[in-house]
Symmetry: C2
Subunit: 267 residues, 2 copies
Amino acid sequence: MKYVKVGFFQFAPTFGEIERNVEYVIERLSPVEADVIVLPELFSTGYQFVSREEVEALSEDIPHGYTSHQLTELCREKGFYLVAGMAERSAGKVFNSAALFGPDGHIVTYRKTHLFFEEKLWFEPGDTGFLVFDIGDARLGLMVCFDWFFPESARTLAMMGADILCHPSNLVLPYCPDAMPVRCLENRVFAITCNRTGFEERGGKERLAFIGKSEVVSPEGKILMRAFDGDEEIAIVDIDPMVARNKQLNRYNDLFKDRRPEMYGWK
Amino acid sequence: MKYVKVGFFQFAPTFGEIERNVEYVIERLSPVEADVIVLPELFSTGYQFVSREEVEALSEDIPHGYTSHQLTELCREKGFYLVAGMAERSAGKVFNSAALFGPDGHIVTYRKTHLFFEEKLWFEPGDTGFLVFDIGDARLGLMVCFDWFFPESARTLAMMGADILCHPSNLVLPYCPDAMPVRCLENRVFAITCNRTGFEERGGKERLAFIGKSEVVSPEGKILMRAFDGDEEIAIVDIDPMVARNKQLNRYNDLFKDRRPEMYGWK
C-alpha cells in the first residue's frame, strides 16, 4: 500500500489581482509537503466578472502565461502536482479551465463542461471533454465546480479510470459538500473539492458568498477532511488511491460491472 | 396549483406469510386518505430467501395472483394508486418487481434492474427497463431499492418525464436516505422511498437489519418527511408534482438543457 498525500488550499482570492493571488499561493504552499494539491476555481483572477472585456484582460494562455509559468516553477521545486482553476484565453476564446501542473511542467488543461449562471456570459462551454491523467501513483480526473451537479461528470471520469476527482470550485449554493460523498460512493473514487471563501460584489451585481467547506472524500463516501466555512485552510491527508480501483461493493455487486447501459434511456 | 397526497407505509413484513402481510396492509391503509402510496420492496413475502424453491413458492403472477387481486380491490375502494414491491413469477422466471395499481386495476409492473447481493441467486435481472406512468395529476416513475445507487436509474426516469420516483426498498446499507436528496436535486424530481423495518435471519444466513427512514424528498433536495429507524409509520404529505416539470435552477441554468451528452463518455 502506497499512500499519497492529497489536499487543498482554501482561501479568498482578491479579484483582478493575479500577481498577488499567485504569489500568495506560492508563499503558502512553499512549506507544504504533498503529492497533489487542488486550488479553487479561477484562483488567480477571482470570480465575479462584469464584462467580457474584463474576462479577456484577466484571462491567460496556458501554459505560456504568467500564472502557468509561476505554478510550473512551484511544482518543479516542490515535486508535487497542482490542479488550478484559471481563466484561460485561447485563440480569441476564454474558458473556465482547470490546469494540471506537475514536476515536469504543465500536463493538461480541462475546460469546464457545465457553466454556471453568468459564467455563460463570459466563457465558452468547455470543448475538451473530461480528462484523466495518470501521475503514476494515482489517476487524476479533472472537473470544475458546477460539473458536480451533473452525475454524468463524475461518472465519466470514474469510467475513464480516475481514482481521484480533482475539483476546483467557487461554490455559492449549499449543496455540493454533502453531495460529493454520493458522487464518491456511486463511483467508488476519491474527491478533492477545493472551494474558496470570502465575498464578491462587483458592478452592482448581487453579492456572492462563497461557502468554503472544501473537503477530501473517500470512495466509501466518508468525508476524510472538511474545512470550515470562512477560514483559509491548507489540508493534506494520506490516501491510498488504489482503493478506488476496486469497484466491488460486496461479493455479489461490482458497481461498474452491474451497470446495465441497455436500460439507460438518456444518452 | 393542485396538491397530490403522497406517502408510504413503512412496516415489518413477516417472512413467508403473504396473506398476513397483505391483510395487514389492507387493514392499515383502509382508513388512509391519499393519492399515491408506496409499500416496501417484497412487502408481501419478506426479503431473505434461502432457496430458489422458496422464491418460486412465494412468488406470484401479476396481475392474476392473490396479492394483485387484493391490492386491486383496495385501490378500487379507496381510489388511490399503490406501488408495491413484490416477488413476481412469470413464465418460469422470478423477478423482484414493483407493481403499480390504481382505481381501475393493475397498470404496469417494473422489474428491478440492479439486483443486490444474494438477490442475484434468486431473481432474474429485470427485463422491463425503467417505467413511467401518467396518472393525470403526476407522472410516476418506478425503481426498486438498490437501483438508487446507480445515478442512471433516477436520471433515466426523470428524462422519461417522471415527476415522482416511487421507490419500494428493503435497505440494509446506511447510505440511501441521505443520498436521495441528491438524486432529487440533480433531476429536480420528488421521491418516495418506502423502506421496511425489523430484522430477518434465516437458514443460517447473516442477520439483516432494515434501516427504516422511509422518506419523501422534494425537487430541491429537501426531506419533506422521514420515518424513524424502527417504527411502523404511515406518512402522507401534500406535494405539487408540477414543480418537478421545471428544471430551471436559476435564470441561466436548466438542468436538463445544460446536459452535454456528447461529453459523456460512458454509455
